[in-house]
Subunit: 141 residues, 4 copies
């Protein structure tokens, strides 16, 4: 675990929502972050699948932390906006949200994200959601 | 509480995520639905404000149920996509998410949403997030 | 025609695309700008309606100039991103794009836009497109 | 030039806007379509770069036609919504818009697009815009 991973892990652990959802920081590298979310009925929408909001929460955090790996030293990151398309019902045993930086400027970063659903039977994971987001670099007060 | 409210309340209560977040169905009328979310540290991002994902979860549900008030009889609704802009940090004692139908066709509905932050001091609530979404009407299997 | 209108008119007239599309700056006030686009077969998609790209072009300019009315003195504005929903085919004699500022900070502004289609028969204009956009304030070099 | 290419070329040629902008259908394959747009001052925004609306117009058409390559036989396609991030000023000699299908269902397709700027000096092309869109399959009347 390097400095970058440690710094992002500290921030991730300070996100009450990630604990509430049961999410786990899975992978950090330059320009890319992965967050894992095991299925839980506590995260469902009305049909029992995982709610679009839970899926969005983890991929938003993955995108934000991906942006952070490319941000100016000492800065923090907040979400300006995101857009998510839902491709199929979020059915699976666990979900992996991946955020990847497309372009990072001084003020803003454009990041794409996807969420892959892994099923118990070991079938090829399927993309359930696609995100395109703008992150803002902010100086801590 | 009329039929429409009852039907939406039943669906809302089946959404595990709404219970997990502590959200409450506050208001249902033709073309508009409101959901209330009290502040809780369990919903936070790394600075202690409410996470963009929690804010998005409640306004997504409000938009989906608003669409449902205008859907073909007996249908259900799923989110095709949404886009959310975050205007300021989600600081407040409670948050009210409002979903409003702009246009409802046979297959798709376009819905806008906003989330208002109410503070303890009774100041004018402030818009913290703005959503523009596409909902799909689906026939229950 | 006041200073703000003059300044925006000068910028609008420098947009080659607005001339190419046949668009006209129709109205400027604090926080709101309107651009008019008469129907022309040169703007069509494959069914003869106005192309989503032409509709988006005028509402993007309207949103950008609306943001400019609230920007820091002497600054210019560029589009960070926008999202547009198309509610119905863009059929009409002329189209009015309206951009309205929802929130303007020092760096970014969040703006909403809509495009209204006016028909020859004088019927109530219909919303054909809805935009939600982020504009960035930039200092001229 | 195969059947698919011919069919899309016929539709492309019926888009008045593509002719007005000077765009050219460059490539068609299963799940991917490319449209080329040479720089022209007639397409500019106020600083002389290509207007976000012109960039969006060509990538929207590329995304729509990409969706069409995966659509049910005999159907047509219209844009439900798109979201575009602008990564840098659209400076270049020519622009290549690429649309790629991520997922195509019976009613809707999710498509991503990007626009690459090619400069005269032969430098590596740069991504100037990123799109994430929803297309709707419609039966011709």
């Amino acid at each position: 675990m390097n400095d970058l991973h440690e710094r992002i892990a500290a921030s991730f652990n300070a996100q009450g929502l990630m604990t509430t959802l049961g999410a786990r920081l899975a992978h950090v590298q330059d320009g890319e972050v992965r967050i894992e979310l095991p299925f839980d009925a506590r995260l469902s929408q009305q049909h029992g699948y995982v709610h679009a909001g839970a899926i969005t929460s983890v991929v938003d955090s993955a995108c934000g932390y991906a942006a952070l790996t490319r941000g100016p030293e000492g800065c923090d990151v907040v979400t300006a906006e995101f857009k998510t398309n839902f491709l199929r019902p979020a059915i699976g045993q666990r979900f992996v949200a991946v955020g990847r930086v497309v372009n990072a400027g001084r003020q803003l970063a454009v990041v794409t994200g996807e969420v892959l659903a892994h099923t118990a039977n070991g079938a090829e994971p399927k993309v359930v959601a696609l995100m395109q987001a703008t992150m803002v670099y902010v100086q801590p007060r």
